[in-house]
Amino acid sequence: MDFGRWSYVAVLVFVILGSTWLEVFLRSRVLRRPKRLLLTIAPVLLPFLLWDAYAISQGHWYFTESRILGVYLPAGIPLDELLFFIVIPFAAILTLEAVRSVKGTTSPRWRAGDEVS
């Protein structure tokens, strides 16, 4: 299968499909906490986009241009990369909350430290 310019985005769609079902079936309730989600993802974006910009400028990693959207942010960062730094943290938070959903919070062992009681 060749997704052409959508190849990078297709991988992100795979991640979204693989994680968003947790919101429904394990009741992760991440999308129901949008302020907290935004306050988490936004500050993490910054250092990682800087890292990305540096790595691209030094040639640490580079992209096959026919397999990315072809839209670039400043410092030559592909738009696909910005989407990566939104999708991956979102999937990670969904996973944490899904594990917590299964384990429950009654046992001190499984606490994350932000429980109401």
């Binding site: 190849s7 990078y8 991988v11 795979f14 991640v15 693989g18 429904v24 079936f25 394990l26 009741r27 992760s28 309730r29 991440v30 906490r33 949008p34 302020k35 907290r36 989600l37 306050l39 988490t40 993802i41 500050p43 993490v44 250092p47 990682f48 890292w51 540096y54 790595a55 030094q58 040639g59 640490h60 990693w61 580079y62 992209f63 096959t64 397999r67 730094f85 991956i88 943290p89 999937a91 990670a92 938070i93 996973t95 944490l96 909350e97 899904a98 594990v99 917590r100 959903s101 299964v102 384990k103 429950g104 919070t105 062992r109 499984w110 606490r111 994350a112 430290g113 932000d114 109401v116």
Partner: protein, 125 residues
């Protein structure tokens, strides 16, 4: 700095922030490591897709292994690679995940959208 050096530095910074800045101590909690174990499994698949299909390539000067070949997939395992991707990606992913989850819990502790809490799964009650 190489990708290897930045990766090690990023992990160190993320751990220090978790322990001493956000004071969330995620690295001491089973909930974090259980989540991370699931995440890293899927990270290897995702990395494999990115690198194995040559969407992303790496310069051998910046990583432990050699450069990505011009027109073929790199080694699946070995030459500093796991599932086609440089081992450095594990450091990159770990720092991204730890920083994200630490900050998520940090805001929860501060009372930002602490509720609705997650769970239980739909098959329970």
């Amino acid at each position: 700095m190489t990708y290897t050096a930045i990766g090690i530095l990023a992990v160190a910074i993320a751990v220090l922030l978790d322990l001493f800045a956000f004071k969330t101590r995620m690295v001491t909690r089973p909930i974090f490591w259980t989540s991370y174990a699931i995440i890293v499994f899927f990270q290897l698949i995702t990395n494999g897709l990115f690198t194995g299909t040559q969407i992303v390539k790496y310069d051998g000067a910046a990583i432990i292994g050699g450069s990505s070949p011009a027109n073929s997939a790199p080694a699946f395992l070995g030459d500093g690679r796991i599932a086609f991707a440089p081992v450095e990606d594990i450091l990159f992913g770990f720092s991204l995940i730890l920083l994200t989850l630490s900050l998520w819990v940090f805001w929860g502790r501060r009372g930002i959208d602490r509720t609705p809490a997650s769970g239980p799964p739909i098959w329970r009650k």
